[in-house]
Every structure is written in structure tokens, then in C-alpha cells.
């Protein structure tokens, strides 16, 4: 396996998982700080999953020259990687249901990213890897969908706090 396209594809795949793991880990810390231990534990679990996926991509990359990419040189369709949880979608009262929905949102974007890479790959090795990774992401989506079903949906007023830490003036 060789070629710039393969290296670039793997550089993106590694960054995708590394950035996702870092963000989940930050969100876990945030939720710990805000005394939402249940969601913190879930975010930490997601971070661990992303780290394992990053390790597995690194194993695939053995023997391939993977180029260094600065964060802003990564070619995502959005400002951040497809599996990086958007900060603005978090809330200090969010529930495990919201956390899993967020993870599901990220995995769906991850799947769409690899499906798109497979569709437009010029290199046969890249196409094969992208298809495999898209299939893996589809499996993650399926597992998360099953997981979400086991979690009760929050009440509509889940974000109402009778003793809010940030009452306006």
C-alpha cells in the first residue's frame, strides 16, 4: 500500500478519532465540574471508544507514510471533524439520553464522511478502507441506536432548574 492519497486518507482518519476522543474527554471533565457524574462517565466511555478506534487506524497505517497535517489543513466539510461533538450542543443538565443522541449524531456524520470518501476515492486501497470504515461506523450507529432505546427519554422540561446557578441580575 502506498501513495499520497492513502497517507492523506489515514491522516484524516487518525485525526478524526483523536479529535473526537479529546473533545469527549473535555466534555467529561466539564460534566464532572458541573456535578453531572452520570453524563461525565458516558462521555469518558465515548472518549475511550474513540481512542481505541484511533489505535486501530494507526495499526492499519503501519508501513504507510502518513503526512503530518496541521489542524486547519484537514479537509472536513465542517470546521471540525465529523465525529467531534459540537460544544454548543451540551448543557449542564443534559441526561444520558442527550449524551447518547449526541454520540449518535457524531457517528452518523462519521459514517457519511467515510461513505463520501469511498464514493469519490481515486485509489482502490483508499476506496476499500473507506468502505470498511463506513461499515464500522454503520455498526456503531446501530449499536448506539439500540443503546438509546434502553434509556428513558427526558421530560420536556429537563433543562428547567428550580435553583439555577446562573440566575440573571
Amino acid at each position: 500500500m502506498s501513495g499520497d492519497e492513502v497517507g492523506s486518507f489515514l491522516a484524516h482518519a487518525i485525526a478524526l478519532e483523536d479529535e473526537a476522543a479529546e473533545r469527549y474527554s473535555d466534555l467529561a471533565d466539564t460534566m464532572d465540574t458541573h456535578n453531572n457524574g452520570e453524563v461525565a462517565a458516558l462521555f469518558r466511555q465515548m472518549a475511550e471508544f474513540s481512542r481505541r478506534h484511533a489505535d486501530s487506524v494507526r495499526e492499519r497505517a503501519v508501513g504507510v507514510e502518513v503526512p503530518e497535517r496541521k489542524p486547519w489543513e484537514l479537509m472536513w466539510s465542517e470546521p471540525e471533524g465529523p465525529e467531534t461533538a459540537p460544544v454548543e450542543r451540551t448543557h449542564y443538565l443534559m441526561t444520558p439520553y442527550h449524551c447518547l443522541q449526541l454520540a449518535l449524531h457524531n457517528e452518523r456524520r462519521g459514517h457519511a464522511y467515510y461513505a463520501d470518501q469511498a464514493a469519490k476515492a481515486g485509489d482502490a486501497d483508499v476506496r476499500r478502507m473507506a468502505e470498511e470504515m463506513a461499515a464500522e461506523e454503520a455498526e456503531h450507529v446501530r449499536l448506539l441506536e439500540e443503546w438509546v432505546k434502553t434509556i428513558p427519554e427526558p421530560e420536556p422540561d429537563w433543562d428547567q432548574d428550580l435553583d439555577p446557578p446562573t440566575t440573571g441580575d
Partner: protein
């Protein structure tokens, strides 16, 4: 053995941020650590200075020298640090209240003086730490604070206009929703000689919940590819600015203010003077 390059994670301190979940400042912090990793600056060669406010907590979260200063005085402190220690890379941080109201005068003169440092103003158009009052960049009709029930009814300060008019040598606007792009912008700002100003649109999801939608409003400036190098051209571009265009607006070449007088008083002598 060759030393491993420092990563963004290496520039995070062990102190965990206490910002509200969803706050844009988390992503500014991510951009800052990514920028430091790109520059590979030794931690002991970086000074991160701030004033008071939510955003001003950032020195605690960066593994470098930090100074969490007095309200509105981040730039005065940062200027002093840079003039006394020109070998340090000095980055100052603050919010729109800290930097444009209480610290407004320091901002004007920092732009004018052109000391070689970078100022990142994390703008959420509200005083967040004091629980939601109108700031100098709040819209005149924002009525959510009991202090200004009919809105502040005052024209907001436009930070880029002000920086440009006062002589800042580098003027840019970034967005916390694009931490990678913001990291690049901070790198450029830091490398540019003189006073570099970066306004960052950083939503306050607690007191300005509608700012969660900034992601839909922010767009790259039409002129992003061609940075203005003269003030009239930059001003012309600002005339059409909607407040959400990101990119480097201006990069000038004014001489940097850095007196070459070496320190003549030893630290011990100063300490003796204070002790007496």
C-alpha cells in the same frame, strides 16, 4: 534522544475549566493550545495575561506563565511584561466588558503603542460572570437584563473599527465554532510584529442562548484571501461588515514599540524598596 514535539494537550494545565457547558470559550482554549503546539513555544517563554470575567480565566487553563490580573488591565500588565521581557511571547485575553468598557482606554493606547503582543478578545456581547448585563458590544435593543429593560439603547462598539482606527498592526475576527481556523489565526497574529488584535465571536449560551445560532450566521469574509495592508482599504471593507465575517482584515507594518533600554535596577533593590 530527540525531544518529542509538544502537542496541544501538553499546553493544557491540570486545572479544569469551570465555564458553562456549551460556552464558546472552551473552543477558544482549544484553539490557543493548538496554536501553541504549532509554534512549539517552550512553556517558560510564554506569558498568558488576562483581566476579569469568564474569558479571563484562561491563564489558569494554559500550561505557561499566567497572570490573572485586575479588571480591564490585562493590556497594561501584558505591555509591562513584554517591555520588561521582550524574549517572552505575550498573549493577552479578555472579554468585551473587560476589554472595551473597563479596559477601553488601555485598548486604545495598546493599539496605538504597538507593543509586540497578541490580544484575543472573546466577545459574547454580555457580562456573563456578573450574570447577564449589557456590555459595550450588546445590541441597543437587547432587553433581557433587568438593568436595561428597554435595551441599552446605545450604539455598540465595533471592535475591529476601533482597533484599526487606533493603529493596531494586525486586525482579525475569528469564531469559537471553528477552533482549527482560529488556531491558525492566532498563530498568524502571534507571528506578526506589533500589537495584534483578534476578536473572537464566542457565544454565551447561558445569558445569550440565541447565540447558539451563531454557527449559522458566521461566514468567511469575501476578502479573506487578500489581507489589506493599508488602513483605508481595511476601513472600506469594514463599511460592509455585518459583524459575522471572519478572517484577517488587516496586517500593517508600523514600527514596534520596544525601548532598548536594559533594566538597570536589580530585583533585589526593588524588593528592598517595597519592604521598607
Amino acid at each position: 534522544m530527540t525531544a518529542q514535539p509538544l502537542t496541544a494537550k501538553d499546553y493544557k494545565s491540570d486545572t479544569k475549566p469551570i465555564w458553562c457547558p456549551g460556552c464558546g470559550d472552551y473552543s477558544v482554549l482549544a484553539a490557543v493550545t493548538k496554536a501553541l503546539a504549532e509554534l512549539q513555544l517552550p512553556k517558560e517563554k510564554v506569558a498568558v495575561v488576562s483581566g476579569i470575567g469568564c474569558s479571563s480565566r484562561i491563564p489558569a487553563y494554559v500550561a505557561a506563565y499566567g497572570f490573572h490580573g485586575v479588571h480591564g488591565r490585562a493590556l497594561a500588565v501584558a505591555s509591562g511584561v513584554k517591555l520588561a521581557r521582550p524574549d517572552l511571547t505575550v498573549w493577552a485575553f479578555g472579554g468585551d466588558g473587560d476589554g472595551l468598557s473597563i479596559g477601553g482606554n488601555h485598548f486604545l493606547h495598546s493599539c496605538r503603542r504597538n507593543v509586540d503582543m497578541t490580544y484575543v478578545l472573546m466577545d459574547n456581547q454580555v457580562y456573563g460572570m456578573t450574570k447577564g448585563q449589557a456590555s459595550p458590544t450588546t445590541e441597543p435593543d437587547w432587553c433581557e437584563s433587568k438593568l436595561t429593560p428597554k435595551g441599552p439603547q446605545v450604539t455598540p462598539i465595533r471592535p475591529l473599527h476601533l482597533a484599526l482606527a487606533c493603529g493596531a498592526n494586525f486586525v482579525a475576527r475569528g469564531f469559537s465554532g471553528d477552533p482549527n481556523g482560529l488556531a491558525k489565526m492566532i498563530v498568524e497574529a502571534s507571528k506578526h510584529p506589533g500589537f495584534s488584535f483578534v476578536q473572537v465571536l464566542s457565544p454565551c449560551v447561558t445569558f445569550r442562548a440565541e447565540q447558539r445560532n451563531w454557527k449559522q450566521l458566521v461566514h468567511e469574509s469575501e476578502d479573506a484571501e487578500e489581507v489589506a495592508s493599508d488602513v483605508p482599504e481595511a476601513m472600506r471593507r469594514l463599511a460592509a461588515d455585518d459583524g459575522f465575517a471572519t478572517g484577517i482584515l488587516y496586517a500593517g507594518d508600523r514600527p514596534v514599540y520596544q525601548p532598548m533600554h536594559p533594566a538597570v535596577t536589580e530585583l533585589a533593590a526593588i524588593e528592598r524598596r517595597f519592604a521598607s
